[in-house]
Every structure is written in C-alpha cells, then in structure tokens.
Symmetry: C2
Subunit: 342 residues, 2 copies
C-alpha cells in the first residue's frame, strides 16, 4: 500500500494539516517540524495521490488559457482538437480550458489575447510566441504573477516560459531533404518557396534542408529561394514567374503556407507530374494535393499533440505540482505519403 499523508502524520506525531503544510511549503510551520516531516516523506518515498489532490482541488476552479493565431489558419484545427480533448479529459480533475483565437502573426494581437486571458483570471497560459521583446516581457510578467506560460509550435528561448512543445524545425528540414533525395534519386534543381525570411521556423527548415543535401545529396542544387508571405496569390505569381524564367527547375520545396497557389503555378507552367513537390503540415488542402498526386510527400509535426500536451503538462503542474522533466518536448516529424493518409 502506498504511503499517505496520514501515515506520515502518524509517524511524525503531528496532524495531517501540518504534514500538508510542510509538504507544500506553505507558511506557518515550525522549521524543525517541517524538516522532520520532509525527511520522513522522502524516506518513505511518499508520492502524493493524484485523485485525492484532484478532488480537493475541485473546490476552487483552475483555468488554463490558450491563445492561438488560428483564424484563417488551418494548421491550428488539430491543435485546437488536441487542446479541447485534453480539456475534457481533465475536467473531472478540476481544470477548465479556454481558447482565445485571433488572426495573423501580430505582436499587438498576441499581447491583447494574453491580456484578455489574464483578465478572465486564468491560472496558466499557452501561446505560439512571436520572437519579440514585448512578448518576452509579458511572459516574464506572467511568470512573476505565478501564471506559468508554455510555448507551443514555436519557441522563445530567452523568456521564462516553462517549456516548449513542438517541432525541431532544423530536423524537419533535414527530413524533407532526405525524402527529396530518395524521390529524386539525388539529382534535382529545386525551387524553395518560403513564407517569410523573418520567420525563424521557416528559415530553419531551409537551413536544415540545405545542410542535408550538402552532406548527403550533392547532386541536388537550389535554383532559387522565394518568399510569398503565406499568401496564395503572391505564391502563384512569384512561382510562375520563376518557373517560366528558369526551365531547369525540376522540383519544389515549400516550407510554409500558400501551397495551393504555388502548386497551381507549377501546373500552369506546363510541368507535369514528374515534378516532385514536398511541403509541410497535413491540413485539409495539403492532403488533397497529396491525394491527387500534385504533392509527393508532406512532412507533419503532430499538431494534435501540440494542443494536447501543453494542457496535460499544465494540469500536472497546477494540480499535482509536477514540473515537466524536459524544457523541450519535441513532437515527432511525421512523413505522409498518399498511402498512409486518410
């Protein structure tokens, strides 16, 4: 039978209340008594019971807020599913999840969303942090107010966020290059289409890709890198132009959104099906492009888990007072081809 607070109280000759206070570093315990209790607890290998904690925690409500730039961004559909699922699973243990959606990657809107959550009295926050000092400052401010923040999908290392849940973009770029090598037999002249050269994640995907072909597939050359701001029209226009100008381009690597526009440009430029394309994230439209053969493979990043895991971690922190073991929780890099896609 596992050790309980009662057992410790009996051995230490104090009440359960005192043991609770000592174990949770609450104020108002004689230091000597506290030390003794802590020693007994550790000797006996005491592990607090989650069900008991959860039941007691139910009296006060604990709220986790998640702010997402998910409006008009299909990537976040699965993130939201994951977060909502976690919310349901942990509802009985006293936690509630609220999701605040906003549009686009704007520091201002992200700050507003965080402040709105704060006003609603959340006990913890999850965000997709923009690399900006105002965001950093806000995270640190919440930290001081005892509101832990988790970064998902994109990290913000020099802040006091508890941890990061998401992909290693460098590695996903390498994986894309690995697939490229396999598909092209190691010989290609590739056009890289990226979102913005200001986005760290996009750049890492390009860098990882470049590194790997240098090491392993020297026969693959990069014809050009063009940005398209995740906008389909821009992508279509720019890609079409470059493809027309440069007939030696025989394949494409898309690191960000606007896949539909870029792919349409390939089609209209007269390139046939023997024009390998690899892109990221298994959104609905990307899966369609994969299914109809216009895209050869998609590299995905477990979006669902990026919603589920942060909630689970915060639940453990808030209810069970357990910090995550690792500061980086990397989601898997998942390769999708038509045959393993629904």
């Amino acid at each position: 039978m596992a050790v309980t607070i009662k057992d410790i109280a009996a051995i230490a000759n104090v009440s359960r209340g005192t043991v609770d206070r000592a174990l949770n570093n609450r104020a108002g315990v004689n230091p000597d008594v506290a030390k003794n209790i802590l020693k007994i607890a550790s000797d006996l290998g005491y592990r607090p019971n989650k069900a008991g904690k959860a039941l007691a925690a139910r009296k006060k409500s604990t709220v986790i807020g998640m702010a997402l730039p998910s409006i008009n961004n299909p990537f976040f559909t699965d993130v939201i599913s994951g977060a909502m699922r976690a919310g349901q699973e942990f509802a009985d243990y006293g936690i509630k999840v609220i999701i605040k959606e906003y549009k686009g990657f704007s520091v201002q809107r992200q700050l507003e969303a965080m402040e709105a959550l704060e006003r609603e009295g959340v006990n913890a926050v999850c965000i997709v942090p923009i690399d900006d000092d105002l965001i950093r400052a806000k995270i640190d401010e919440l930290y001081d107010k005892n509101i832990p923040v988790i970064a998902l999908n994109s990290d913000l290392p020099d802040s006091r966020r508890v941890c990061f849940v998401g992909n290693d973009y460098e590695k996903s770029g390498r994986t894309a290059a690995g697939m490229f090598g396999l598909i092209t037999g190691g010989v290609a002249n590739v056009l890289i289409v990226t979102g913005s050269i200001k986005m760290l994640g996009h750049n890492q995907r390009i860098h990882g890709f470049g590194q790997l072909i240098k090491e392993k597939y020297p026969g693959i050359t990069i014809a050009d890198v063009i940005a398209c701001d995740d906008d389909d029209e821009t992508a279509h226009k720019n890609v079409f132009e470059v493809l027309t100008k440069n007939p030696t381009i025989d394949s494409m690597y898309i690191t960000a959104g606007a896949q539909t526009g870029a792919v349409r440009a390939v089609r209209e430029s007269g390139r046939g099906k023997s024009f390998p394309i690899i892109c990221f994230d298994d959104t609905k439209t990307n899966k369609e492009l994969l299914k109809n053969g216009e895209v050869r493979a998609i590299i995905c990043q477990e979006a669902y888990r990026q919603g589920y895991e942060p909630i689970k971690i915060l639940f453990e922190m808030l209810i069970n007072a357990r910090k995550p073991k690792n500061e980086h929780i990397y989601t898997d890099i998942v390769i999708k081809i038509p045959e393993n896609t629904d």
Copy 2:
C-alpha cells in the same frame, strides 16, 4: 458546477447510496425508483466524476495483466515501455499493471500466460492473440468471468475481445509499396522476404503491397516471395540463394523479422548501396541498418502506443465504466528515414 450524485439524490428524494446503485445497475433498487433516477441523471446531463470514482476505487485494488511474447523479440521493448508508463500514470487512480513475458508464438505458452494472470487475480487482460480456437475460447471464458480482454498488435475478430489496438497491416503494406514506388521511380524487380505464410499480419503486408503496385506502379514486379520464420540464419541462407540464382532482383521488401540476416545476404551477394530495401518496425537493429544506409526506410506502427493505449482503455472501463467508442483503434503508420530517426 457539474451535476453530482448528491444533486440527483436531493431531486429524487432518495439517498446517495440508492442513486449509486441505480446508476451502476446494481441489484436491489425498486425499478420505478431506478427509472426515475436514471431519467433525472440523463436530464441533468450527469457525468460521474473520475477523481471521486478513482478515490473510492482505491480501497480495492484493480489489476491489469498483459501477456507478451516479448522474450527475444525486440519489437516489444517499446510496447512494454508504453504499458509501464500507463501503469505509473494510473497507479494513483487505483490500478496496477503486471506484465507476463513468454517466448515465441505458441498457443500453449499463450494459454499458460493467460491462466497464470488469471490465477494472480487480474481484473483485465491484454494479449497479442494467436489466431486459434483455443485462444478464442479462453477469451470468451474470461469475458464470461467478467474479465475484459484487449487484443493488441494482432486482432482476433471472432472472439469477445473488447477491442483491437494496432496497425492496419493491409494499409502498412500499401504504405511500404508507396515508398517503394517513390524510391525506385516505379521500376523494380523486388524480392519479398516474409516471416511465415501462416501469419495473418505478414500476409496482409504482402497483399497490400501487391495491390498497390498493381494499381499505381505496374513497373514494379515481384520476383519471388520467400519465408524465413523470423530466423536470421534461415533468412541469410534463403535470400543469398535466390539473389545468386536471380541477378535481375534489384530490391527487397521484408515484412517480418530476420532483417539482419536478409540484409547481410544482400551485402554478400555483391549488390551495392543502390539496392533499395524497406522493412518494418523501428527496433534497435533496424535503426542501425537504416542509419548506415543498408535499409532505405522503415515502416513503423507506434509500438509504444500499443502498450499504452490498452491500459488506458481498460482503466476507463474498470474505474470509470466507459467502453471505448471504437472496436478498432488503429495506430499510425509511421515512415522512418535516417533523418527523422534518433
């Protein structure tokens, strides 16, 4: 605030004990009273609180037994990790997991393992069922004794197992073929190495592979199918023989164990690195073959989750009385190439 048993008791003008009996279909409740209670509960949208249930369940211990043919079979390493992890996570909610390991796919040994678990008084069982009527009968017998059984990794449809957690082998065969098509450019003469033609999963992997190349890659032909009983020596010998006899074979598809032996035969037959090989499961040795370039891709089946998920499902059944929504819980078909492998 959520609805509790107490609320229902107050409205129905009965005691909490009676509500509990009615909600859990226990004996000794006036049918009319029970009907009324059930109606109130459903009207109010009552959902039992897991933490409360768990705490109450702690008084009696609930044990889940898992029997695995894991001795000398590296595939099950991750399955065991998953099951043990789930065991830790749910320990506080009153469940305990015991794993019984045995060696090889033998009906006799599997029956013995199940009976041993039964003797230890388990409340539920997870197995990798062999397709045999004795096993079927045992599962049904346990069902009658109110001991639910979950099939993992391999299904046994005509039995009373609660559900199946594992891969769709047909689909993983198709996925292997899809990768084969991408890697070979759709032209190859492939040697298929399988474990046993009596193993349903192995055959499905062959069948799915065959179907897909027929539909999508008619330029791929199957040179031969040889069995090797998951034994490295046998695989080495047979593969070497066939490769020597048939110089047109230019690639290999391994559906089962004994990858090391088969790959060694390829090496010794003088085929170089331009001899694509695809196999299954990310065991330690397979990952090494992948890393050193002898295998191009591995198709995996989330072994960890095949251990974790059955325990989670049984926990929900035993503690929270919630059946799984689906009879088939398919784990993802995961493609590993060197770049997305640790």
